[in-house]
Symmetry: C2
Subunit: 451 residues, 2 copies
């Protein structure tokens, strides 16, 4: 039995959700309560709510609303922007028990599922039914589909299948006052008023709580072909990207600058070690011809085409940083979008400017170039919040100057909130605040995040 | 020189936009001022504004805002929902002179253009640069790209390339108070706060005025293969759709029920006349094999594969209703989305129930089945508003019962406003009103539309 602090809001929540629906005290201590960002989170939430149904989510939020109680929404806690971390005074609401696939509809090509469903569970169920669920990223084993929607998660398949935004057909959300907005349609075309789903997608739990969704399923693609390539320079990557788009069905186009490639096990794979390495993957053939043409044009210097899934997996291990020459210390994961023509300049300038901050700082650049998305992994010699701030200031300053986005796929959350004006104008941020105030007038839902 | 009624708002607008930027009086009479819906529009606008720049749009809206003057936004006036029609007391704002392509960026694969650019002009420019602009519909010769965005226009290419929503990367809008929200990014991934662009897309000029956009360009597709097929029944169409999605790159999948097919020139093309006819188009091969397999499985009874573009055009003429056995009288164009499994039942029940309203009423059903979208063309024996209302009541009642949408691609505008509750809940409509009030607190922008 949960022993609760004697607060009216907690008593009301206990009455609504039952004993195992409200964790507090010692039971709260055992729960995981912060995301994967490693951001410091000084405080625990007041309690952890674990609703099992949309009705319980609605009841819990209505109670908190009536008591002016702030709420932080939690999915699989795989985020990297501290968007799901309590900042002080919130009750946490976990969707973990609102899980399960409700329906796979082979005729419509859709899956209807609850927010707490693990991404990989949904992927496996789609595959068993003969379909591809075209959402995929590294944290698939613990990420919730609701969190994927709330953060408009990206990943490596975006170039072929779009972000989560392009794969949601219907959505159900609960507003802070408990109002359920349910629009679980299974069709592509729907111009019946404002597209509320598209507004909630990527709003990181600040406008409403995602409870259910209808996702688009696609036919299972033909087997992928994978290659690891050595390129003379970054412009060659852009030339190859354009011809690959025209001649193949691209499912990944991952560029690694030399520092990253060597750190992650690429040293000695090509001779000499290339300035730019590329992992390219196509669905349904054409890769060998593409690379042969590119070789004859000098766009590709050398290429290893995977002859087995095990070999393709080894290429992906390099990209995913699974085996490192040197362990990372005090790392910062930057995630930015840029025009592709600006990427190489950004990568080189970023390395220079960050290196000037501290001689023992290291940075490693790679990215989903076809989506305009670069990641910079920065390792610091010591835990040093002031140095972290200078790294962000330097990198986001470059992003602002190049007209980029300070968040391509990780979201703004808490960690990037104070940098939002580097990508969005004061007028845009004011419009966001107006929309926030319209849907959550008391400002109780995930306060302190995004804006 | 425009002779204006002596109203302060018009004097201020004339000072801001100049003589040829404000049409009133006799010059107003010569302008086209209503959309293609044929909906009755009893009143002319007070004046027609023709800004040439984003700055002039902003200035004009700020003046109207200061004077509590309602504004109706007009693009190419090809809409079918009366969304751009003045209802009484508005000033009309046309984007026709804010036109032109600013940039085609071959590296990023994007086109940046102004709202008043004609769709076909943009398509032609993309093609000349070696790209496909993947937005297309019948009104391409006069529709504005801004209107396409404001209405999230659909069309026949949606099955392959998505609606406008999926093809807009960056967007610039002006709010009613003159605030310019500009976010003209060229990349796919951008999770920097709320996606305002996705909210404005499809909001039919009620939240802001689209002034510029960045559209995604795609590689030019290989030549299309086109066939006209006779199918035994609608379930066969669904079987063929599923295998076509898996085995080909579909660019159109247009189903015609018999009444439509015979009305539009299909009579005698197959023997016997089929219950269900299909126009199918694939990019890049595979159609002949697909149809041969389908024939052997009994899914397709007969098929005509176009051997020339002229023949493909003749097939499209049937689908587009270009040559009719009987002229249409007093027609109503219904545009609904439904689960595909419900479509055949809807088509048959709709014909029955509408026929029962008046013995001389006729209805013809066809649709973009792969997108869940059906059109019903209803012809009435006479102009009769009461009969029009009963037709809508009957058809939208069926849509509501089947969980469909009363607008797949045409939008809500004025004509469907009073039926919105057949597709959206009271809670959803209240959320829409809250968002509208947040961005246009005085309710001056396109009043009386959608909600």
């Amino acid at each position: 039995m949960t022993v609760l602090p004697d607060q009216p809001v907690l008593r009301a929540l206990l009455a609504a959700l039952g004993d195992d629906g409200v964790l507090a005290g010692s039971r709260l201590m055992a729960a995981r309560l912060r995301d994967a960002s490693g951001a410091p989170s000084a405080v625990a939430p007041l309690a952890l709510l674990r609703p099992r149904s949309v009705e319980e989510v609605s009841a819990a939020l209505a109670i908190c609303h009536a008591h002016d109680q702030p709420v932080v929404v939690q999915g699989g806690l795989t985020g990297l922007a501290a968007g799901a971390n309590p900042l002080g005074g919130e009750i946490a609401l976990s969707l973990a028990r609102l899980e399960g696939i409700e329906d796979i509809d082979a005729e419509e090509g859709t899956m209807t599922l609850r927010a707490g469903t693990i991404l990989q569970t949904a992927q496996d169920a789609a595959r068993a039914a003969g379909f591809l669920l075209p959402i995929d990223y590294g944290a698939r084993g613990s990420a919730h589909i609701g969190g994927a929607i709330a953060t408009n998660a990206g990943g490596t398949r975006v170039i072929g299948h779009g972000t989560v935004r392009q794969n949601v057909l219907g959505l159900e959300c609960v507003l802070m006052d408990g109002t359920v907005l349910s629009h679980l349609v299974k069709f592509t075309k729907d111009n019946s008023g404002y597209n509320l789903a598209q507004l909630f997608i990527g709003s990181e739990g600040t406008l409403g709580v995602v409870t259910r969704a209808v996702l688009r399923l696609k036919p299972l693609p033909p087997p992928a072909e994978t290659a690891l390539c050595a390129l003379p320079d970054f412009p060659a990557a852009l030339k190859l990207l354009r011809s690959a788009r025209a001649k193949t069905t691209l499912s990944a186009f991952e560029v690694m600058w030399q520092d990253h490639f060597l750190l992650c096990g690429g040293r000695g794979l090509f001779s000499p070690d290339p300035d730019i390495a590329l992992l390219i993957e196509c669905e349904g053939g054409g890769l060998t011809d593409l690379l042969a043409d590119a070789y004859s044009e000098g766009i590709v210097r050398d290429a290893l085409i995977a002859s087995s899934q095990a070999e393709a997996d080894r290429f992906w291990d390099i990209r995913h940083m699974d085996h490192l020459e040197t362990p990372l210390t005090h790392e910062i994961n930057l995630d930015v979008s840029l025009p592709v023509v600006a990427m190489d300049g950004f990568a080189r300038r970023c390395r220079e400017d960050l290196g000037a901050l501290d001689p023992d700082l290291r940075s490693y650049v790679f990215g989903h170039v076809g989506d305009g998305n670069l990641h910079v992994v920065v390792t610091l010699p010591r835990a040093d919040p002031a140095l972290v701030h200078r790294v962000e200031e330097t990198a986001y300053g470059l992003v602002r100057a190049l007209g980029g986005s300070i968040s391509a796929e990780h979201g703004i959350g808490r960690l990037k909130r104070d940098w939002l004006d580097h990508s969005r104008s004061a007028a845009e941020i004011a419009a966001m605040r107006a929309i926030k105030a319209a849907l959550d007038p008391k400002g109780l839902l995930n306060p302190g995040k995004i804006i």
